[in-house]
Symmetry: C2
Subunit: 462 residues, 2 copies
């Protein structure tokens, strides 16, 4: 396979323009107000897959947002790669922290991205990374170098837990049959430190509701005499961690995968600059579970974070009220062997059990997924490693990621194939945050590396 | 003085219609979006005071919302009563809990109000109670029975701390000179248990801000490794009360007025039905400071309540984010001898001192006021007691109130006169809450009782 570099060079501007067109669509899956935009994004993905050389592309409706499926089968005897990605994005708020509108993409240079980066919601997670695969496909078909069969499954519900994708996969084993699954929805350490994600954390996302009085009360007339749902929810949340920042839910750690000292020593070799890390997010001190490093805390250890809290009067000025209710959205990142449904139940049981007299508590399980680990001795990882070596000139470092792609463990269970996580973003790309961006260098590097994976995976499959 | 009953009977419908017109104006002082409505409400109050017989009425501009001042001086040798009230109202949210629009008043019968009650924001607090005084004035002037001089000072910033009224009072000692101040902005125990509020709690209202990372972070990439402002603010709020629900701010209780066992025994005589109390607000258990009854907890003891909390993603669906900031509005009800500015400083110092590494904390003092106690042996209280006896056929019970009218202690300090708190609402009228209402029986009872106070106060002043 010839290097894609010249082809990328020739088509650079078009590759950028096409991605920007896709990024202009506010395909926010969590907010039903954007259902039409989500549909439109699916339509654009379908058309681009057809242009890129897929033989048959269809929009598969679901009870929620549609899944775009496309394929090009050149020879049943050749291996089949299934590319997974998503065209939906996270909500952009808080909007006032964006330096440019989230759905009005602009290219700006940054310290880490001297060649420029595209600033827009979804630029990195995952429209930009997903679209690298569409352009890599275009390169291989237009230059008659596609070495194997390929299938694309691009969904619109990843940011809300892939609720309907799970059923789609369960009901389409034959259609989705493949030899390896390829995903770019993670990151790499640095331009000169290529890395491949070999592990993902699982997730359990719940919403809790604490109800006290049947109506908002005047804090002068009732203050001090009735349980205040906000004070109570604060106490309950505070009690979920002990003084060592261990999570205090009974049974929470029972099945946590314990790494050997050797494995932890191996991890510790990955370059990490605490000062730069703290500077990049503007904090003067890291904090977390006692006895673990920052890299361990956000990869091999489970966590519990409140992602949102609200209750009472939050408008301008003052209102002296004891609210009837207080709410919080809480997510737990899980590690291999922790079952997300079991953890969700443990949380529910515990949180309900610590509700004091005077309030009632509801826990609504939201969504979740299992953690995942990629074996580095399989041909999938080997092919990826060779591809990176060719395009980066360096052997990539295997790295555990802290994020979750709930669907990955389901793929293995349903389709009996392993997933290779070739991510080209940086942690500093601010995914899920204001001013999300994706470097042009990273975008083109991905398009250059992906065909090489096709080449080596086909060779190693012989 | 003849009973006002016949006059009220003749003018019933007009008295109701006039109040409803005033209630239709959304004069929300806390939200600048309603500045025009606040102005309009002041204009209506001015016109009604003129119609009620005041000789000169003026709208006094302030840096904030205007104060309506009116007076009728009949004889410098006669005593002067200063009536204080406010035409501004609390924000109506949460709107979805109102059974009818807050500024579209309707009359409905309830268990406690078989004669019907007006449902609207401000119906009880304080437009309805303030307007009783305007109609009582009308009765006395139209029937040539006004026994003394009267001054009205109706402000538009009570719900935001009377920031500008304080200066107005300081700068107008001569204009506001009076022998007693009369306010209806509190409640009474029950129709058959008339009571007069003899104490008010002070208030300190602050807003706190906890800042962690300089931007919202992906909870997968950073979860467990950096301090989450929501988890932190929850821990900090939880730590403000100990296991006995004592407030843990150093020095907070140092100056708290301690009641004698005899005084507490006297208080305990006021009728109180715990079951009915819990039923009325839909809770299965009261809770509060150990060692005190419910009536003590919400009147003679200081409290700390979170009135609002917000941070992170609070929209539909899920967002796995570690927010950059979390916020809370916190108010403390204070008792006699606690200085609100001193308490505000104690809170600030303490809250900032408990901020853990990894976050910065800001405390913004909002507003506040001192507590107040009315002597029951003064002629003001005696006149009120006689007035209630005539209109209710019963001697009223002196009662400590849990609410705050920050301006009252300032009146005493600046104008050297005592305040009589003749409130005609019920605790169950849901002031500051959805479905606030004011009974027609209470409205007319107030109009009937007020002139009797004028009569007895003038007599006792001789």
């Amino acid at each position: 396979m010839k290097s894609a570099k010249p082809y990328i060079e020739e088509n650079k501007q078009r590759f950028i323009d096409e991605l920007i067109d896709l990024l202009k669509i506010p395909s926010i899956s969590a907010d039903s107000a954007y259902n039409e935009d989500v549909k439109n994004a699916a339509q654009v993905v379908k058309e681009q897959l057809e242009k890129a050389g897929c033989d048959s592309v269809e929009i598969c409706e679901t009870p929620g947002h549609p899944i775009v499926y496309g394929e090009k089968m050149i020879d049943p005897k050749l291996p089949t790669i299934l590319v997974y990605g998503h065209y939906d994005v996270q909500p952009p708020d808080p909007l006032d922290l964006w330096n440019s509108p989230p759905f009005d993409p602009i290219i700006k240079k940054t310290e880490l991205h001297p060649e420029g980066a595209i600033f827009a919601r979804g630029s990195c997670d995952d429209k930009g990374q997903m679209y690298m695969h569409v352009k890599a496909m275009e390169y291989m078909t237009k230059t008659n170098q596609l070495p194997c069969n390929v299938k694309f499954m691009i969904e619109g519900e990843e940011e809300v837990g892939s609720v309907n994708l799970a059923n789609f996969v369960k009901n389409n084993h034959a259609k989705l049959k493949n030899d390896v699954i390829l995903i770019s929805d993670t990151g790499m350490i640095a331009k000169d430190v290529p890395s491949i994600t070999t592990g993902l954390r699982g997730l359990s996302y719940v919403e809790v509701e604490v109800t006290g009085p049947n109506r908002d009360l005047h804090s002068g007339l009732y203050g001090g005499a009735v349980a205040n749902p906000i004070n109570i929810i604060s106490k309950m949340i505070a009690s979920l961690h002990d003084e060592n920042n261990h999570i205090s839910i009974p049974g929470f750690y029972d099945k946590v995968e314990v790494l050997t000292e050797a494995e932890r020593a191996e991890m510790a070799k990955a370059p990490f600059n605490l000062e730069a890390y703290q500077k990049s997010i503007g904090i003067n001190s890291v904090s977390g579970e006692k006895g673990y490093t920052t890299n361990e805390r956000n990869s091999i250890r489970p966590t519990l974070d409140v992602n949102g809290i609200w209750g009472g009067y939050t408008g301008e000025g003052a209102k002296t009220v004891i609210p009837s209710q207080a709410f919080a959205k809480i997510s737990m990142r899980l590690v291999p062997h922790q079952d997300w449904e079991e953890i969700t139940q443990l949380f529910k049981k515990h949180f309900e059990s610590i509700a004091p007299a005077g309030v009632t508590v509801k826990v609504r399980p939201h969504h979740g997924g299992q953690g995942y680990v990629t074996p580095i001795d399989g041909i999938g990882y080997q092919a990826a490693s060779k591809a990176y070596f060719d395009s980066f000139g360096k052997t990539p470092i295997p790295q555990r990621g802290g994020g979750s792609i709930p669907i990955v463990s389901l793929f293995e269970q349903e389709l009996q194939s392993k997933t290779i996580l070739m991510g080209f973003g940086f942690d500093s790309d601010a995914i899920h945050s204001p001013n999300e961006h994706f470097g042009l260098w990273n975008y083109f590097k991905g398009i250059e590396t992906i065909p090489l994976f096709y080449k080596y995976f086909t060779e190693l499959s012989k």
